[in-house]
Amino acid sequence: MIRSEVIKSIVPVIADHLVVCNIGLPSQELFMHDDRPSNFYMLGTMGLASSIGLGLALAQKAKVVAIDGDGSILTNLGTLPTIANNVADNFVLLIIDNGSYGSTGDQPTYAGKKTSLAEVARACGCENVVECAAQDTADVLKAALDAGRMTVIVSKCRSGNVPVSVIELDPGVIRHRFMQEIARRNR
């Protein structure tokens, strides 16, 4: 499976939850498969999906899934100690690890070489870290959400992309409808 297929496979699992989705193709693919007000699409700012997701999870009660990539985690590696030391049991970080910078032409990342992001997460102090094969991602993600424990999932998939369109939504619209959805869930 490639990332687009992983994202499609998790749509039924994440549809009822708040989702913060990484910049570039991941957001465009999620938008294509299942656009919802409960999705926050990052139109810029590589690396901060996990930080936005953690801040959101700490600030309110509804469950939050941050969909990140190996390249983006590597660019903000400091996020893992912060996550480990500020436990939010309504937070799941899903790292779709295709070993490449997919949005920029599939240049290899170090996560596809010697570096294990699951081991890095564990070394940072994250207590529930699961590495899984791409086809198991939906089941692992569902189990993590049902367990109500903060979990970091590293889903290992193949690199590769499908053609997708850019997101035309204005950032203010994305934020506004996302915040309305958050407020509704926290009433």
């Binding site: 913060v20 926050f40 990052m42 139109l43 810029g44 700012t45 590589m46 690396g47 901060l48 999906a49 996990s50 930080s51 936005i52 997701g53 953690l54 801040g55 959101l56 999870a57 700490l58 600030a59 309110q60 903000n76 400091g78 996020t79 100690p81 912060t82 500020n86 950032p171 203010g172 994305i174 934020r175 996302f178 915040m179 958050i182 407020a183 926290n186």
Partner: protein
């Protein structure tokens, strides 16, 4: 009240409930107070752009958020400010220790001090410079202005403000 308490009380009066910090010697007093104050969720960050991500998430989750940082980090936050905080209209008070001003003992700190206001001006970020201890009295209004405008706002606090300039 100490100047550190004044800052913390102003944050509380303006209903700030989430604060992320990257330490600076001048900020140690404020950070120490925040850590033990139940009115705030204090989440230290490893890097300031990471902190801005945390603040964006916390704000969308219903908590007014602020970042406390040093001016030497302005450079690493420019992308986060432009493409996240400003692009999505997220209010963010940036309480910034302004190192490298009169009273500074470390020459290298001056190298970023001379660029600090220019960078903030280039980003069109409303910027306020606290130079005397009494300037803390402006903080309430600045915070209210920030949340009204839904913009990042920078408050530069130099060594004279902290009482360290001789």
């Amino acid at each position: 009240m100490t100047i550190h308490e004044d800052i913390v009380e102003s944050l509380a009066r303006n209903r700030v409930g989430f604060v992320t910090t990257v330490p600076c010697k001048q900020l140690a007093g404020v950070i120490g107070l925040l850590e033990h104050d139940d009115r705030f969720l204090h989440v230290p960050s490893n890097k300031e752009d990471e902190g801005m991500g945390l603040c964006a998430g916390a704000f969308m989750g219903g908590k007014r958020a602020a970042i406390i940082m040093q001016n030497t980090a302005i450079g690493v936050t420019i992308n986060a400010l432009a493409t996240l905080i400003q692009y999505y209209n997220i209010p963010l008070p940036m309480l910034i220790s302004y190192r490298g001003e009169v009273g500074e003992k470390v020459a290298c700190q001056v190298e970023m001090a001379v660029h600090t206001k220019a960078l903030l001006a280039q980003l069109a970020i409303p910027t306020y410079h606290f130079h005397r201890a009494g300037d803390v009295g402006d903080l309430d209004g600045i915070l209210a202005h920030c949340f009204m405008a839904k913009k990042p706002v920078a408050i530069l606090m130099d060594a004279s403000f902290w009482g360290g300039a001789k």
